[in-house]
């Protein structure tokens, strides 16, 4: 699947999606609010469209009904022939692909921002596909500089040879905001307010770009996945222990070989037996127990992001 190059025209078609997981409440409540009152999503050169991505899961306050929606955007799901037995989320993914995509086509939306919460202590995490997504990298940098107190960390999810499966991959450019820790089904004022402010700044950035602001090259540090570690389990597949107190809540901090990672119910510690330092994220995320993930191992790396093209300012108003 090709990754479209850095934009050379203003971004006009922008969407903000909440409730991709129906129990991640910041995005749910923001999307529902904007569907009634979209004014704060408007800018001079574009208006972002709010979307409640998974209405059935939102109504039930669950992550999903049949299948994780944020894993349903592969060409296999999107392009196979619909049948009456299709899981709810596969049908919904196809609808969203029609609305915001089609994925990898010239007709896809210019930008999709997808809103998520995690039970892990990941603070403010910006999730993009790869270091080659120039627009998304400049956007992340802009957020980091604008809010230094948030220590925004950048997580780049693409693993070589693997197709993207998440909602924001249907657009030409995409970013997910992952804010935590917040329990599923709970709406915290501090996290809600931070999410709202970040969305506003993302839209401000797009407006700045559309208006011809220059964004020069820079060096960026980010984290990319190198593996996952499951919980220790019994022969029957049940948990035999849980995340060690010394690892709990330490997302993005270095984990050295020999450090404790799990505490067994019977009392002993299990130690990390990898060969190099990794940076765990999504430590003890509720939704990942069923996926067999206690934490995701990442490596930290630095790369150069080239300058973005400078556009001719858009005459306003443009909508």
């Amino acid at each position: 699947m090709c990754s479209l190059p850095v934009p050379r025209e203003p971004l006009r078609r922008v969407a903000v999606t909440g409730g991709t997981h129906g129990n991640e409440m910041s995005g749910v409540y923001l999307a529902q609010h904007w569907l009634q009152a979209p004014a704060e999503l408007q800018r001079l050169s574009f208006s972002a469209v709010p979307v409640l991505a998974n209405p059935a899961a939102t109504a039930a306050c669950r992550r999903y009904v049949d299948h994780d929606l944020n894993r349903a955007f592969t060409s296999s799901f999107l392009n196979s022939r619909p049948t009456p037995d299709d899981p709810y989320e596969v049908t919904r993914a196809r609808e969203l692909n029609q609305l915001l995509g089609p994925k990898a086509s010239g007709r896809a939306f210019d930008f999709v921002l997808d809103l998520h919460n995690t039970t892990a202590n990941m603070g403010t995490c910006l999730i993009a596909k790869s270091s080659h997504e120039v627009f998304a990298m400049h956007l992340c940098r802009h957020l980091q500089l604008r809010y230094p107190e948030l220590s925004c960390q950048v997580f780049l999810y693409q693993r070589s040879g693997e197709e993207s499966y998440n909602l924001d991959s249907v657009a030409k450019n995409g970013l997910a905001l992952e804010l935590g820790p917040q329990p599923q089904g709970v709406l915290r004022a501090d996290i809600f307010s931070r999410m709202r402010t970040l969305v506003a700044t993302v839209l401000d950035f797009i407006e700045l770009f559309n208006q011809g602001t220059a964004f020069p090259a820079f060096e960026m540090e980010a984290y990319r996945p190198v593996g996952v570690v499951d919980f220790p389990r019994t022969d029957a597949g049940n948990l035999a222990g849980t995340v060690h107190p010394q690892l709990q809540d330490r997302d993005f901090q270095p984990l050295q070989p020999g450090a404790p990672i799990f505490q067994m119910f019977s009392g002993e510690d299990l130690l990390y037996d990898g060969e190099s330092t990794v940076y765990p994220v999504f430590i003890n995320e509720a939704a990942y127990y069923e996926k067999g993930i206690a934490f995701v191992q990442t490596e930290k790396f630095t790369f150069t992001v080239p300058a973005m093209p400078v556009l001719n300012p858009v005459p306003s108003p443009a909508f």
Binding site: P183, Q184, R188, A189, D190, N238, V243, Q248, A286, Y289
Partner: protein, 266 residues
């Protein structure tokens, strides 16, 4: 339970329920562990049995399947005959005593004519619930597991000491008694229109004075506590209570006096 009295008999049988709510993982995994290896919950002269109260909800990692198990142990649901049967059959409780525990423990009293609810544990002679948080539903934290485990150890030690004839002198304990449940402000469609205010979030058990912020609307307005009484909020922003229309419970702090107790067998 407002005062203690000399028990007529030692406590013979204790049940520990985990997984009354299937997504509250601490109890689930402690009980599962003890079902494999129950050594740490055994005490001489006492039969202690762990139970998974709601196995189907545990399997699904949901609070409940059809309705909340911890609200239906009343006459209407159980039938009078069944209640009498259970009371005669066994003493079921999980009990703890503040002075033995090194961790700060708060006592929440749900005795109230209309707000009390029919818990699973209420089938026992001496029912006590242990609530440890914060922990997200569906997550098992080692620190919370450790706290729960210590509470249970102290509870069982207390029962054992009681059975062995130790006298527990009169004591005064501070409790928080429920007065009222407060819902979220809602719009005309019944949707939540305000969030627990950042000043109240995570401040369970701390005094909330008239004029203090309670809610923050989506438009940024603060809604404050009215009236003229200081209250002590608990269960502030509990995930499971959104559907029960409870943003927090107001409690009042009281001191209860307990008479001394001693097992009558010694």
């Amino acid at each position: 339970m407002t005062s203690c009295h000399i028990a007529e008999e030692p406590i013979k049988k204790v049940a520990i329920f985990g997984g009354t709510h299937g997504n509250e993982l601490t109890g689930v995994f402690l009980v599962k562990h003890w079902l494999e290896n129950g050594a740490e919950i055994q005490r001489t002269g006492l039969e202690v049995k762990p139970f998974i109260a709601n196995p189907r909800a545990v399997k699904k990692c949901a609070r409940y399947i059809d309705c909340d198990l911890n609200r239906i142990f009343d006459l209407e649901n159980l039938g009078e005959q069944n209640i009498r049967f259970l009371h005669n059959k066994k003493d079921v409780f999980d009990f703890f005593q503040t002075s033995l525990a090194p961790l700060p423990c708060y006592i929440y009293l749900i005795e109230h004519p209309s707000l009390k609810y029919a818990t699973t544990r209420s089938i026992a002679k001496y029912p006590v619930g242990i609530e440890v948080g914060p922990q997200p539903q569906g997550v098992l934290r080692a620190d919370i597991l450790d706290q729960m485990r210590k509470m249970i150890k102290h509870a069982l030690d207390f029962i054992h000491h009681f059975n062995e004839g130790k006298e527990f002198p009169p004591c005064a304990i501070e409790v928080y008694k429920i007065i009222e449940k407060v819902d979220y402000p809602r719009d005309e469609n019944g949707e939540i229109a305000a969030v627990i205010h950042p000043n109240l979030q995570d401040q369970d058990w701390k005094p909330l004075h008239p004029g203090d912020p309670m809610f923050l609307t989506l438009d940024g307005k603060t809604m404050s506590l009215g009236g003229d009484c200081t209250v002590y909020p608990v269960f502030v922003n509990e995930a499971a209570y959104y559907e029960k229309k409870e943003a927090f419970a107001k409690t009042t702090k009281l001191t209860l006096n307990a008479k001394s107790i001693r097992c009558s067998v010694h």
